[in-house]
């Protein structure tokens, strides 16, 4: 979509929504997040498979993929990591949007419970109607000694998969850990780093860090950017190799 000047006799300030009203409307939506899916698993699976596979050669896909992960990261990634990210990614031809799957039991059976459309201008990604994936963390821990990173959001997840990190992804900043014991076992005797992007994420991750502190070797809350909202996917834009990113994260 191109940038054009707004209409002459149009006053956008009349149509602004104040913070309290916005919160009320958004909390109406979030209160549904504990519900179970209204849509059957096989229906979701079929819908997700009907989307196109991603392709950096296709210019329509490329514009959208550039907003998710940089091409150097995709090319340099370990083939197994790349296959996983590739299998979780699709392109919706009708809307011209990137789509990613949301999975339950990511350590074992990898069951698809929903999928999300990318949205422009850094807005929250749109979940498929009738599904509630926001209580399901994505856990991918495949080594015994590496640092575990705790991140927020599906875009960060795809980037960290390509980087080959051990990650726990929490779906959104309002997440509450409903099954603490399972996750505490995952982090036993490991170094845990929480990557924090803003105040909202800090409020969410601080109690989680407190729970992890009982079993983990060390827990660190780390802010990536000095000013403004910077998450992992914004942070890696300044580098050009995976090794540089890993060095930056460990420093």
């Amino acid at each position: 979509m191109s940038v054009v000047a707004p209409p002459p006799n149009f006053d956008a300030s009349l149509y602004k929504i104040d913070g309290a009203t916005m919160n009320r409307f958004n909390s109406m939506r979030q209160s549904n997040s504990d519900e179970e899916n209204d849509v059957a698993f096989n229906v979701l699976d079929k819908e997700f498979d009907n989307f196109d596979r991603i392709d950096f050669q296709n210019p329509r896909h490329k514009d959208e993929l550039d907003g998710v992960f940089p091409i150097w990261l995709y090319n340099q990634a370990n083939p197994l990591d790349r296959d996983l990210a590739y299998s979780m990614s699709r392109f919706d031809n009708r809307h011209g949007r990137f789509v990613t799957g949301c999975y339950e039991n990511s350590q074992f059976e990898f069951k698809l419970i929903s999928y999300k459309h990318r949205r422009l201008y850094g807005q929250k990604w749109r979940t498929r109607a009738g599904t509630h994936p926001n209580n399901t963390p994505f856990i991918r821990i495949f080594t015994d000694d590496m640092t575990i990173f705790v991140i927020e959001g599906h875009r960060d997840l795809l980037n960290s998969l390509l980087l080959g990190l051990d990650v726990i992804m929490i779906p959104f900043a309002g997440y509450k850990n409903s099954e603490p014991l399972e996750m505490i076992e995952e982090v036993r005797d490991r170094n845990v780093v929480f990557l924090i992007e803003d105040d909202k994420a800090y409020k969410c991750m601080k109690p989680l860090a407190g729970e992890f502190a009982s079993s983990a070797k060390s827990v660190l809350l780390k802010e990536l950017g000095s000013a403004g909202k910077t998450d992992l996917s914004d942070y890696i834009q300044q580098f050009s190799t995976i090794q540089e990113v890993l060095d930056g994260l460990s420093s």
């Binding site: 979509m1 054009v4 209409p7 006799n9 149509y15 009203t21």
Partner: protein, 102 residues
């Protein structure tokens, strides 16, 4: 201006025939939309117009139905004085190629 109004309007409807499409148009107008797809068409306290999945919207406050982006901008927001001006602005925004009148 345009050679065929009907074709141009169909093209605009095609591009904005989803919630995402109309949301992008509203975003470029700098209009706030809540996560539950409500936004304001009038000067009111709580937003009462809701986006539908097919890119149309319904104002529950006044009972007005806007079938596409053109009717929302022209009838709802009254942002332009004429329909051709509305459609021309939307064509520029959505990168729709216009054919010159012969």
């Amino acid at each position: 201006m345009f050679s065929d109004f009907k074709m141009i309007r169909l093209k605009i409807q095609e591009r904005t025939s989803s919630k995402e499409g109309l949301r992008d148009v509203l975003h470029s107008l700098d209009v706030d939309v809540t996560e539950s797809d409500y936004f304001k068409v009038r000067d009111e306290r709580s937003p009462s117009c809701k986006l539908n999945v097919d890119g149309s919207c319904y104002d529950y406050g006044t009972g007005t139905y806007y079938q596409d982006a053109v009717s929302l901008l022209f009838d709802g927001y009254k942002a332009f004085n004429s329909l051709p001006a509305t459609m021309q602005w939307l064509c520029e925004l959505l990168n729709i190629q216009q054919e010159a009148k012969q």
